[in-house]
Assembly symmetry: C2
Homo-oligomer: 136 residues x 2
């Protein structure tokens, strides 16, 4: 697996994968931002990675999935390198027949056992997760 990086300006870059899919990346201040920053890409990678397995497990259990969304948040320390000290990922599932307990088991499995990105994260970064099931 390979990703190429290109330069646009000192604070603006782009990355391209093996299939030529491109993303923009910038480190501009919030008001000027046009793209995600590298740390936001990491958060996006963690939450998307587990999401794919969560949805797949819900379907394997033959439960219906009306809506699925999530939110990843992270705290970084103030000193350099500004590594993540903690991350929290939360999912919201609308399903009339998936129980809260089953959803928690599925999210736990996805994050702790299957997610490639989460498993590459430092053990000193506390990664927590939660899920909210709404019947409709």
């Amino acid at each position: 697996m390979k990703v190429k990086l290109g330069y646009k300006t000192d604070q603006e870059y782009f990355a391209i994968n093996d299939s030529d899919n491109r993303i923009e990346i910038d480190m501009l201040p919030r008001e000027d931002k046009k793209a995600m920053s590298p740390t936001e890409l990491l958060l996006s990678g963690v939450i998307a990675c587990a999401a794919v397995d969560i949805v797949s497990m819900i379907k394997k259990k033959r439960k219906s999935l009306i809506e699925f969304s999530g939110e990843a948040s992270g705290e970084r320390r103030d000193e350099q390198p500004r590594k993540f000290t903690s991350m929290h990922i939360h999912y919201r599932i609308i399903s009339p027949d998936l129980t809260q307990i089953d959803a928690e088991k599925i999210v736990h499995l996805a994050v702790e056992k299957y997610c490639s990105v989460a498993s590459t994260i430092n053990e000193s970064t506390t990664l927590t997760h939660s899920v909210e099931v709404v019947p409709n």
Copy 2:
């Protein structure tokens, strides 16, 4: 810092940051891919994160930068979770007045001391780096 995740299909998602910048994410097979996968986002985050500091350090040293690019590659283990066992990031710099030795020092500092994403990566993932300076 927060990122929201949205669902498109079982294999296709999107993420949005606090400034409403959006990226697409998918886990489709290579021939069908329209967007990066979560693990590619992690590689992109690592290489872009260090790039910003590398460029900034080159400018602080008042060296000229004609071209800047990079490539990140990674190996993942076969068993679940398919965590990265190693990553390598390589930069290519076109500069008539930056020495190879200075470039190596800068890349080392950026990756090892400043990069927030690299510092969040597991110590059991071997992260190596290299740089190639071309005068023109």
